[in-house]
């Protein structure tokens, strides 16, 4: 028996407004960004109201309180991931986290710098944010970029994993859950292959950390990135987690105030721990907001949330299968998949699908989902994507299915 989570929707003020056609909002675009509960909005605002000061600077009381709040957020996020707080780097977004990491890998002074004879492995189902930084790293260093392919049902093809992940492989950058298919790749197997050749595993956890329990120790990956705004938190805050021993060996990529140990006119040395990666005054209020989101989700229970989304996904998949002209893109069963469902409607472009759904107050994502190479491989111009979070319920799924039927009527699919 799973917990009744329906009461949580009330915590999200956005659902008190109406949208196009005077309809209530049915928000099925959490894969792009999640809505925010009042406690998060309040935590961010409260920081500005009562604690605002530049952290790690100044001898005044506000600076102390602001620093405590910011470092408290770091500890809280670390606990949430099963990590140490010295391993949590705050960034502005997951995209920045991955770029920062890729740049640090190309700093020749890094103890684990990428060199021209190294190989970097990605997969065909990566979001642009976990593809282009590695393309660019390969370009800067002369390293070779290779990738694991996908199978027609939207899973990773591991048949040639032994060739792709080989003794030259330095980095394996992979998504924890596809933002297009909802597929959860077999991380264990990939970590095993990477460890066998001494490669580092970088996990893009944007679609996983906000939706199910993620423990970095259990996963045994080396680096992990996610954004706060998909986790009910504010925009402008992201996380890069890395094993402490590896962060020690990496050189920073962004330089300036607050990240130094000492500075002369000729050069500088870096602060220890995550601080050396956090130049400038950080996004403090946003870190505090993220911390409130972590508390909120912890109180709900990540396993309860995962079960909730699992049920909705199952309901949506079985409903879509019954609509003529609709094809699910990605796994059609519940094995190793999360609450992201992509589909196409024969003869109707995803934008037109999204436009009709919008008329009924239903917000979905349409297009290539920042996974252009994947769309080309699938010979699709794009898909319509529905994705869930805590505030969704079974009647949202029913409304979506009814509206998709109306799309096929409106554009006279197969008529």
């Amino acid at each position: 028996m799973s917990a009744d989570l329906s009461r949580y929707k009330r915590d999200f003020p956005i659902f008190s407004r109406t949208v196009r056609g005077g309809n209530p909002l049915i928000y099925l675009d959490s894969g792009a960004t999640s809505q925010k509960p009042e406690v998060v909005i309040e935590a961010e605002a409260e920081f500005y109201r009562s604690k605002n000061a530049a952290v790690h600077r100044g001898a005044h009381l506000l600076a102390e309180e602001a620093s405590d709040a910011y470092e408290g957020a770091r500890e809280n996020v670390a606990r949430f991931l099963g990590a140490q707080s010295s391993e949590i780097i705050f960034t502005k977004s997951a995209t920045e986290s991955l770029n920062l990491l890729a740049y640090s890998f190309s700093n020749p002074d890094s103890g684990i710098a990428v060199k021209s004879n190294d190989e970097i492995v990605v997969t065909e189902m990566e979001h642009h944010a976990n593809l282009i930084p590695w393309q660019q790293l390969a370009k800067r260093t002369g390293a070779k970029l290779t990738w694991l392919s996908i199978t027609p049902d939207g899973r990773l093809d591991l048949s040639n994993i032994d060739q792709i992940i080989n003794s030259n492989t330095k980095i394996v950058a992979i998504t924890h859950q596809s933002n297009v298919f909802g597929t959860i790749p077999p991380i264990k197997e990939i970590v095993k292959a990477a460890q066998a050749v001494g490669a580092y595993v970088v996990l893009d956890a944007c679609q996983s950390v906000p939706h199910f329990e993620v423990d970095v120790k259990q996963l045994q990956v080396d680096f992990l990135a996610f954004s706060g705004h998909k986790l009910l938190g504010p925009t402008g805050i992201g996380v890069l987690w890395g094993k402490a021993a590896l962060l020690d060996q990496l050189q920073p990529a962004i330089f300036g105030g607050s990240m130094v140990d000492s500075v002369t006119m000729q050069g500088a040395t870096w602060a220890s721990g995550p601080r050396k990666f956090e130049a400038g005054v950080p996004n403090m209020a946003q870190a505090v907001g993220l911390s409130a989101a972590v508390d909120y989700l912890t109180q709900i229970g990540m396993n309860n949330l995962a079960q909730h989304e699992h049920k909705l996904t199952e309901q949506l998949l079985s409903g879509l299968k019954l609509i003529k002209g609709v094809k699910i893109v990605g796994p059609t069963d519940m094995k190793d998949r999360g609450g992201v469902v992509s589909f196409t409607v024969d003869g109707v472009h995803p934008h037109d699908v999204g436009q009709v759904l919008d008329q009924y107050g239903i917000a979905v994502r349409t297009g290539h989902h920042c996974a252009w190479p994947l769309m080309k491989k699938l010979q699709l111009v794009g898909t319509t994507r529905a994705s869930f979070h805590i505030y969704n319920n079974s009647s949202d799924v029913v409304s979506l299915l009814e509206a998709v039927e109306k799309v096929t009527d409106y554009f006279k699919v197969g008529k």
């Binding site: 196009r20 056609g21 109707v348 934008h351 037109d352 436009q355 008329q359 252009w372 111009v381 554009f411």
Partner: protein, 144 residues
């Protein structure tokens, strides 16, 4: 319903049976335009003689608005001289930017006025303009 102001019958008809779709073998110039935020693409072949549009053919993938608009554009601008084609194009761009306040000059824009409703949907304006901008690029290059 608000949706019907966007998807006029004329638009749906052009989407299902587009005009001048399929690239010609001969052309003065070929241009390729895309919309990186949504992935819509148009390739356009243009032939002009003495400053007059002799042939417009195009191919592409995209939503009903972008494909229908390219189709309407290719019908409307065929046979026009460069100055007139730019006058029509400017009128269409102005209509798209009218935020639903203009119904368009039917004498100038003909089937193009069916897109007036698009101007109320900011996210779709760039769809409607894709083929037109490809034409502008091509014609300007030919005339240069």
């Amino acid at each position: 319903m608000e949706l019907d102001s966007l998807y006029q019958q004329v638009i749906l008809d052009h989407y299902r049976t587009p005009s001048n779709k399929g690239l010609s073998a001969f052309k003065d110039i070929q241009v390729h335009h895309n919309n990186p935020s949504c992935g819509d693409e148009v390739t356009l072949n243009l032939t002009m003689k003495d400053g007059v549009v002799k042939e417009i053919t195009w191919d592409g993938v995209g939503c009903s608005i972008s494909m229908a608009s390219a189709s309407v554009m290719s019908e409307l601008l065929l046979g026009k001289n460069y100055q007139d084609s730019m006058k029509i194009l400017d009128a269409f761009v102005e209509l798209m930017q009218s935020k639903g306040k203009s119904s368009g000059d039917e004498q100038l824009l003909e089937d193009g006025v069916a897109f007036a409703g698009v101007s109320k949907f900011p996210a779709r304006i760039k769809c409607a303009l894709l083929g037109w901008m490809a034409f502008k690029d091509a014609a300007t290059q030919v005339m240069a």
